[in-house]
Structure formats: structure tokens, C-alpha cells
Amino acid sequence: MSQMSSSPVIPVRTLLPWSVAVPVLLIVAYLVTMDSAGVLASSGDFLHELMHDGRHLLGVPCH
């Protein structure tokens, strides 16, 4: 019966309002992984330097 546990398809209409979460999440991702010359880097480099090792190990271009 475990195959029957799946619920029906969620209509795109219902999903669409949740798409506003995507840019918000992507901004956080940008601040963590990118931003080598952007907002945080210019605001004193602190957060950029703080997350330096994470960025290297996450495999994104760092410097």
C-alpha cells in the first residue's frame, strides 16, 4: 500500500504564490556563496571573510 501514499498532483495555481520564496532564498544563497565583490564585501568584508572556508568547501568560486 505504500505506493498509494502519494497524494494527487498539486495544481500550478496553488504552487505559484510560493514562488515568491525563490528569490528570497536565492538572495541568501548569493550572500553566502557569491558576493566576492558585492554588498558584503564592500561593507567591510566581515561576513565574506567569516564564511570563507564554507565557500571554498561548497565548491563555489571564491577568489
Binding site: S5, S7, S36, H56, G59
Partner: protein, 226 residues
């Protein structure tokens, strides 16, 4: 229901990010330290680190902060992708779908860009090309996602026998067309580079693996309760 998925994704992502951070701290940090030692030796005796913004200890803490935030972001996006593909693509069983989707995400978001533009330890990479390298990395990531999506659509109609070659052709053409980047200094130790890159890939594997598993476990609990 989407709210449940979303919160589940954020929670599973936070756990995945923390555990990935622990893996990175135990496995990856020693290689970063070795690379920084090489970087400092190359910079010469006149190079002082007294004015560093964040100490090496602080950066180790920052590793956990970075992986946890990254995990939460991936978890949220994963949950929304899960809500969309559920019943449309992939396995009918919710838990199998969660694990399959995590494997697909790792493939498209991590492995595809990694094989073309692998991450580098400190002391590798020309700061002047960071913009170009970042764009190429993101292009490769988007191509990975497009190839995965194309694979899913083709799989639904024609099965694996067509989906796998389609995925490989899309990624392979992108690999062939996009420019290569070679900025590893000739004198940088090959073993250290390899170890760093394997630990980087391992950390991402932990993140996506835990994300898929915890999301599936939380789905199972939810189903029992309802």
C-alpha cells in the same frame, strides 16, 4: 500542504547543512589550512596577517554558518521542487521521490558544475578572473538543471534508455563548448588539490544525502500521524 513541505524542507536543510559543516570541519579544514600555509609562504615574510578581519578559528565557525544557511536555502528550494514534481515526475512513493529528487539535485547542482569547474583551495585561482569564473560556474549549474529537467520529461515518455543519453549529451556538449579554466599554479601540490576537491565533493554529498533522507523521514512521520 505546501507549507508543510516547505517547513520540512527548511528543517531538513538546516540539519543537512549542520552535518555537512561537521564533515567539512573534520575532513576539509586540514586541507584548507595546508593551502593557506602555502599561500602565506608564497606571499613572503613581509605578508602580515595581524590585521585579518576574521581569525582562522572564526572562519571555522563561519564554515558551520555558511553550510547551515546554504542547507536551509537548498532545503527550501528542494521542498518547492518536491511539491511540483510530486505526481508529475519520478517515483509515486513520496519517500522514494524525496531521495530520488535529492540525488537528482546533487547531480545537477553539484556534480555537473564540479566536473567542469571544480572548487579550489586557497592559493589557487586568479582574483582578476573571479567574475568570469563565477558566471561560467552558474551557467554550468543552470545547464545541469535544464539537463535534469529534460531527462525527467524524456524519462516519463521514453524511459531511462532515452533519458540518460539525453542528459549526458546536453551536459557533454556544454563541457565541450564552454571554455576551460586552468589556474592551478604549477608548483601547487597535486595531492593536496585532489584531497581538497574530494572533501569538497564529499561535503556536498553529505548535505544532499542528509537532506533527502531527513525530508523522507519527516514525510513518513507526518503520514503516520494523519
Amino acid at each position: 500542504m505546501i507549507k508543510d513541505f516547505f517547513l520540512r524542507g527548511l528543517g531538513a536543510g538546516a540539519v543537512a547543512g549542520l552535518l555537512a559543516g561537521l564533515f567539512g570541519f573534520l575532513v576539509g579544514e586540514p586541507f584548507i589550512d595546508q593551502a593557506i600555509a602555502i599561500e602565506e609562504a608564497a606571499a613572503g615574510a613581509g605578508h602580515s596577517h595581524a590585521d585579518e578581519l576574521v581569525s582562522r578559528g572564526g572562519q571555522a565557525f563561519g564554515l558551520f554558518l555558511a553550510t547551515t544557511l546554504y542547507g536551509i536555502v537548498i532545503g527550501g528550494l528542494f521542498a518547492l521542487a518536491y511539491a511540483f514534481v510530486k505526481g508529475r515526475f519520478g517515483p509515486a512513493n513520496g519517500q522514494t521521490l524525496a531521495v530520488t529528487l535529492a540525488a537528482g539535485g546533487f547531480l545537477a547542482v553539484v556534480l555537473v558544475p564540479f566536473l567542469k569547474y571544480p572548487g579550489n583551495p586557497p592559493a589557487v585561482g586568479d582574483p582578476d578572473t573571479i567574475g568570469q569564473r563565477t558566471v561560467l560556474y552558474l551557467v554550468m549549474l543552470v545547464i545541469g538543471l535544464l539537463a535534469l529537467g529534460a531527462g525527467a520529461v524524456i524519462h516519463r515518455r521514453f524511459g531511462w534508455v532515452a533519458a540518460v543519453p539525453a542528459f549526458l549529451v546536453i551536459v557533454g556538449v556544454a563541457y565541450a563548448v564552454l571554455p576551460a579554466i586552468q589556474e592551478v599554479p604549477a608548483e601547487f601540490p597535486a595531492v593536496l588539490l585532489w584531497n581538497f576537491r574530494v572533501s569538497s565533493l564529499g561535503m556536498q554529498a553529505v548535505l544532499w544525502g542528509v537532506l533527502g533522507s531527513v525530508f523522507a523521514l519527516l514525510s513518513a512521520r507526518q503520514r503516520v500521524r494523519v
